[in-house]
């Protein structure tokens, strides 16, 4: 594999290849083309951060700008999915879920069960997540636990370009509704990505670093904090195993438990608010299923239970750092 591309380009390529492969794949969202109906150039934006740039030129009207009406177009995506299409709807920021949540958690998530198995809703809702952009309280949240809480939804949060492409292709091919969370601070991050289409199965965590002393579980941007901490700790003689969950619902608890059985120590790193977070869920499941393997207290590294602050001075304190992960690792080794 020679080619390195950014996560943004990997997402673009996944959409492009799936739209080429399957005519039922359509893409909609606010400004995902950009400039529709405006006097200037068509395809002006390709999304607010340019993720869908260039797709309109290839796939034309299968990419649709929408009015600023999240309820209507997310609902339309859900409805079209129930009628045999494979829509990918971009919600821009996950913080906007509040204005269209019903169509996701009462409609898309429940059709299959509520209708006795007769419906399927293969919709993908893409949204930017995460802090670090100086974007303040309403454009920076990591709302993954809101969605993992809801049966019927799948929740995906890649940590790199390779995973983003394979997981998005899987999300589009998957027959259940998927919330696809893209960390905006990873868009520029580059990894080796095959140019061919490929799908990464859900519930297949990635052990990104092997180590026998402490298990660190993370997802999204926090995988990079965890590996940075692990690299630095290795110089102190502490070998950490870093497990990238990749998908949060379904979640690969087998991989976590297998790792904890080997290390006996667990640190969960999560950019979501601490209460009822992914970190709390993983900690609870490990306590339930691998209590005897634990040699020390489980540690969680999360932001404080506050909204995301604006001032860089505060936001940098808010986001879990490698140093905090290192402290947590050491704390597991006290007992």
């Amino acid at each position: 594999m020679a080619r390195k591309i950014s996560m943004k380009d990997a997402i673009n390529e996944a959409l492009d290849q799936e739209m080429t492969r399957d005519p039922s794949v359509i893409v909609m969202g606010e400004d995902i083309v950009g400039g529709t109906g405006s006097p200037g150039e068509a395809d002006a934006w390709g999304g607010v951060l340019g993720v869908t740039k260039g797709l309109y030129a290839k796939h034309g009207d299968r990419l649709m700008d929408t009015p600023l009406s999240e309820s209507a177009y997310i609902g339309a995506a859900v409805g079209a999915a129930a009628c045999g299409m494979r829509p990918v709807a971009e919600l821009m920021f996950i913080d906007f879920m509040g204005v269209c949540l019903d169509e996701i958690f009462n409609q898309a998530a429940k059709f299959k069960y509520m209708f006795g198995g007769k419906a399927q809703t293969p919709v993908v809702i893409r949204a930017m997540v995460g802090a670090g952009f100086r974007a303040a309280a309403q454009h920076s949240q990591m709302l993954t636990p809101v969605f993992t809480h809801i049966p019927g939804l799948k929740v995906v949060c890649p940590s790199n370009a390779y995973d983003a492409k394979g997981l998005l292709i899987q999300s589009i091919r998957d027959n259940d509704p998927v919330i696809f969370c893209e960390h905006k601070n990873l868009y520029a991050h580059e990894t080796e990505v095959p140019d061919e289409p490929y799908a990464i199965p859900f519930a297949e965590a990635n052990v990104v670093r092997e180590g026998g002393d402490v298990t660190i579980v993370a997802y999204g941007l926090m995988v990079h904090r965890a590996t940075e901490a692990a690299d630095r700790l290795a110089r102190e003689g502490v070998e950490c195993e870093v497990v990238d969950l990749r998908t949060l619902s379904p979640i690969d608890m087998d991989a976590v438990l297998e790792s904890v059985e080997g290390t006996g120590r667990l640190v969960c790193v999560d950019e979501a608010s601490p209460r009822c977070s992914i970190a709390a869920d993983v900690s609870a499941q490990v306590a339930q299923h691998a209590f005897k393997a634990l040699k020390g207290p489980v540690q969680m590294v999360t932001p404080p239970h506050t909204p995301v602050p604006f001032s860089p001075a505060l936001e940098d304190l808010y986001i879990p750092s490698a140093e905090r992960v290192m402290e947590a690792v050491r704390a597991t080794m006290v007992a």
Binding site: S71, A76, G79, A80, Q107, M114, G117, K118
Partner: protein
Amino acid sequence: MAENPFPLGRDQLLAAYRTMRTIREFEERLHVDFSRGDIPGFVHLYAGEEASAAGIMMHLTDKDRIASTHRGHGHCIAKGVDVKAMMGEIYGKVTGSCRGKGGSMHIADLDKGMMGANGILGAGAPLACGAGLAAKFRGDGGVGVSFVGDGASNQGMFLESLNLAAVWNLPVVFVVENNGYAESTSVEWAVAVDSYVDRAAGFGLPGVTVDGTDFFAVHEAAGEIVARAREGGGPALLECKMCRFYGHFEGDAQTYRGAGEVEDLRANRDCIKIFAQRVTETGVIRPAELTAIDREVLDLIEQAVAEAKAAPLPTAADLLTDVYVSY
């Protein structure tokens, strides 16, 4: 045989009558069985509103999708959902349309183009836009039809959908079934505009208001709107002014109603009575033909209830199935 002044043949007239009568008997029977405590949960009855479902659905085929409301039994029956499966569902049995997992408010049959009754008011409107969008991409001439009550017509989801459908020029029809009450709250108070035609115009949509107790008025207006949407002419809004014979839900004491209001509706604004009178007084249909249908419908409902009562309940294994296609 007298000359037929109606835009429908005799068979279609009899079919329309059968649909409306089936809905009425279904709902009347539920009213009784619910009060006996035979039915779990709660139900919202469509009795009195049958002409809307029957008049609109006669223009639709299985490839046309409807998104219904919490008061969805009538839409289901008119769209062709199996009556016995519906009754099984309402009784919470494994033989139900949704294997007992949905209940009265979530009866669906995608094969029949029934995208589900919906417990969330207004949520069906974006779904119908999605159905229209899918039909447009497929080029199969299908339309999406969204039903809301006068109450849900104030929901953001509904209003956003009017705009979206207009902007995307979707083959979608928005039907406002205005029965005068959002639960207990009067439409006169809760809807600020006097006319839904004006509200539609505000979103750039053509709108039509009809007497929803007049099957023929509904049928004619819906015919034009559906045909236009099917041919690419874009969305429209149809308001059916109609009467709800029962409360918002079964057990509603309806103390918000005026004295004698329901009795007056049943006596003078019963859409089935009005239909029967018109088709028989013209001599196109003989009263005996309608009476025969009444008997058959009664038998059907009786059988449906008996089978629903006898049907097995879902088991513990059913609790965990059908959450995901794969997980």
